[in-house]
């Protein structure tokens, strides 16, 4: 079991799902707080699920409110950074960049492109997010 734990963890790092921030969190774990990382991760996924749903609603509305989207993404990026969710963080950054560009875009045609990119990035973000969640669940499960 130990080996499996180590393997899962290693793959998470190798594949870039997690970065050193996660290690920092693990260092905060001790006998008095044995499940700290898992608790944080749970909280993170709960909160990010809410953000994702907000973003989806915002996107479904059909009109791209780049500011609002950017707002959500900023929050998402903040919490993803804090937990060390590296890939998710990258997707957030990209999404925000497309928001920024799209917001400035004057020609509707190009703007539509930006919107497309945002949507695509968001899709990718959700995917990374889901993968991370699954893998971390495995990880915590194996650690018990």
């Amino acid at each position: 079991m130990q080996r499996q734990v180590a393997l899962i963890k290693q793959s998470l790092f190798d594949q870039g799902y997690l970065d050193e921030q996660f290690v920092e969190l693990e260092e905060l774990q001790d006998d008095a707080n044995p499940n700290f990382v898992e608790e944080v991760a749970t909280l993170y996924f709960k909160d990010s699920a809410r953000l994702i749903s907000n973003i989806e609603q915002a996107l479904e509305r059909g009109s791209f409110d780049f500011n609002r989207l950017d707002n959500y993404m900023h929050q998402f990026k903040g919490s993803s950074t804090s937990i060390g969710a590296s890939k998710v963080k990258t997707e957030c950054t990209m999404f925000r960049e497309y928001c920024r560009v799209g917001n400035a875009e004057v020609f509707s045609l190009f703007r539509t492109c930006d919107e497309c990119r945002c949507l695509r990035t968001f899709k990718q973000l959700k995917k990374e997010h889901a993968t991370l969640r699954k893998k971390l669940e495995q990880y915590f499960q194996a650690s018990k």
Partner: protein, 629 residues
């Protein structure tokens, strides 16, 4: 030495004994003072949890909060309950910087800002708002371990704030003593300082001023106290106000010259930051916070309900305005008590107002590349919606509104040059003799209104609109969705909840009628850098000082402005998206000052039933080239 158990001393008995410290450096408890009482404010629960854990590991006492208003009420209820505050920049209910201002002014606690945003402009904003530090997320343990230094530093600076007169000797003594303490390990300092403080606090709570007294019971600058302070400062004149005289004027038992001195220091920094200057109206600076005796309004920032009341009291704000503002939910009847809650609500109502207006996407694209003719039409339409309040000059109304903001927009008298906000000067305004935004306003509302009147209001609405609206495209269906690039980038960088740039060049009191085309306004809006430059030309030295680091653009010169205007005649307003992208730094600075004002204005306007004007304009997005930057 034995380990002492000081009231606030080290959690581990590392105490203040240097001997002991030398022995046990490795132990975490001795590395830095423990039992620092930290308040953490962040809307992100993940981050809150992590920070709490980290701080606990550093042996600090932690209280966490996910809303700024809760944090403020906690701080107000427990006057000396916390040593330091860590706050996120980007929070939904209140801008972190606003919280920072409040904490700094009311409780005089060190505040550390943090954010995932590491752009220089935001960090700078933290500095100018008085944050003692700025942490970039993800926050690491190492960064948190040393936050105690800010607490110590602040206490030391309070103790040895010498201003002019009085107890120079005692001050010198104090400093020497503190320096002596410095020789020991830092944790020793902390415990020594806290021990002294504790003992002295016990002995001399609320006693008469004693200059030789080392202890500095923390003074909570309540509303009334601050009002008295400002009144005293105004009476003396900001430049000439010295703590001793202020203290005498205030005549508050138990208040020491040092308390006043450190508060004055902060006040001055605050004024400077607001950029309130205008060489001709230097005196108006005194009117910041709460308008004093002067008729002209200094930069009004952090004004809340109580400020408004102060304004009423001093006759600057007609009670009528106050009532109106209150009706608008923008001001609360003041509580001259310490409970700052009404103020908070005021603030929050502003914020929520702002948010609402943000989200409603007003279609005021007037200032963006709109051909003059169309703009004029639009403006007229808008204008007609603006009621003119009788018996109250618009300026006063604006002042009232402004009072509710924390923004640095000064309110010049009619006919006076606008103060400060030089940063925000609109090009056209600067160009005129009056260094005001008059051009803009008059341009905007050419018809039946007097100079200040609705133009200011209109401006406000414009301003609010400006940052919010995207660039209009002729008949573009997506228009409503647009938001200026500026706003998103701004948001990103500034992490504030304000939309885009809050119109830097928003001068409600421009008295100038001129024939500047609206597009000029647009240009001004768009090119903050340009505005910066122009404002530099008009600003006093202090303004320049404040703004220098913000500007990354050309030095101020009148000429470019002229050119711009010349061009303006023929060209439509250029979209500033590109500019915005480039000049977000400039924008940021603008923003920080005016965002709240804008919100307040828009809220006020909404109250008036002024609907945003829906416009669609032909718009040439990429011809901004001729604007010198």
């Amino acid at each position: 030495m034995m380990n002492q158990s000081h009231g606030r001393g080290l959690g581990s008995a590392a105490g203040s004994s240097s001997g002991r410290n030398q022995g046990g450096e490795e132990s975490t408890a001795e590395m830095f003072p423990s039992r620092l009482r930290v308040l953490v404010v962040d809307d992100d629960p993940t981050c809150l949890m992590i920070l709490e854990r980290m701080l606990r590991t550093c042996l600090y006492e932690v209280k966490k909060c996910n809303r700024a208003e809760i944090a403020l009420s906690l701080l107000r209820k427990n006057e000396h309950g916390f040593d330091i505050v860590i706050s996120d920049v980007h929070m939904p209910d209140m801008d972190g910087f606003k919280l920072l201002e409040h904490v700094g002014l009311e409780m005089d606690l060190p505040v550390i800002m943090m954010s995932a945003d590491d752009s220089k402009s935001v960090v700078l904003k933290g500095v100018t708002h008085g944050a003692v530090d700025y942490l970039i997320k993800p926050v690491r343990m190492e960064a948190l371990k040393n936050i105690w230094q800010h607490v110590v530093r602040k206490r030391r600076s309070e103790w040895s704030v010498p201003e002019h007169s009085g107890s120079v000797e005692e001050t010198g003594e104090r400093q020497q003593q503190q320096r002596g303490e410095d020789d020991n390990a830092s944790s020793v300092n902390q415990s020594n300082n806290s021990r002294k403080r504790k003992e002295q606090e016990g002995e001399e709570q609320g006693e008469e001023e004693d200059a030789s007294n080392l202890k500095k019971p923390r003074v909570v600058w309540s509303v009334e106290l601050h009002q008295q302070f400002v009144a005293a400062v105004n009476q003396l004149g900001v430049e000439k106000a010295v703590p001793k005289k202020i203290l005498e004027l205030m005549n508050v038992p138990g208040l020491t010259r040092e308390n006043v001195a450190s508060h004055l220091q902060k006040y001055r920094i605050y004024l400077r930051r607001l950029g309130g200057v205008v060489s001709q109206h230097q005196g108006n600076l005194n009117n910041s916070f709460m308008t004093g005796q002067d008729a002209s309004y200094g930069p009004l920032s952090s004004l809340n309900g109580f400020d408004l009341q102060a304004l009423v009291v001093t006759g600057q704000l007609p009670a009528q305005s106050l009532a109106q503002l209150q009706a608008a939910g923008l001001a609360r009847p003041v509580m001259v008590s310490k409970s700052g809650l009404p103020d908070e609500r005021t603030i929050f109502s502003f914020d929520s107002t702002k948010t609402r207006s943000q989200q409603t996407q007003p279609q005021m694209n007037l200032l963006h590349g709109v051909p003059t003719g169309v703009e004029a039409r639009q403006l007229v339409g808008l204008q007609q919606q603006l009621p003119v309040r009788n018996g109250m000059s618009i300026q006063q109304q604006i002042a009232a509104v402004r009072a509710g903001h924390s923004s640095g927009m000064p309110m010049p008298q009619a006919g006076q040059q606008p103060q400060s906000s030089t940063r925000q000067t609109m090009l056209p305004n600067r160009m005129s003799e009056r260094s005001g935004f008059s051009g803009r306003s008059s341009r905007v509302l050419p018809t039946s209104y007097t100079n200040h009147s609705s133009s200011s209001l209109a401006f406000n609405s414009f301003q609010q609109e400006l940052p919010v609206n995207g660039f209009p495209l002729a008949g573009a269906p997506g228009l409503s969705v647009r938001k200026p690039h500026a706003s998103s980038s701004y948001q990103e960088e500034v992490n504030s909840s304000e939309p885009g740039f809050t119109t830097p060049s928003y001068n409600m009191f421009s008295n100038r009628h001129n024939d500047w085309d609206l597009h000029s306004i647009g240009i001004a809006f768009d090119a903050e850098s340009v505005a910066f430059s122009s404002s530099e030309a008009y600003s006093t030295s202090s303004m320049s000082r404040t703004n220098d680091h913000d500007r990354n653009q050309t030095p101020p010169s009148m000429v470019p402005r002229h050119q711009v205007y010349g061009n303006g005649g023929g060209s439509s307003v250029r979209v500033k998206s590109e500019r915005v992208a480039v000049d977000t730094t400039a924008a940021m600075t603008f923003n920080e000052q005016y965002s709240n004002q804008e919100d307040l204005m828009s809220a006020l306007l909404k109250q008036e039933g002024i609907a945003p004007v829906d416009t669609e304009f032909d718009f040439d997005a990429y011809s901004f080239d001729d604007i010198p930057v």
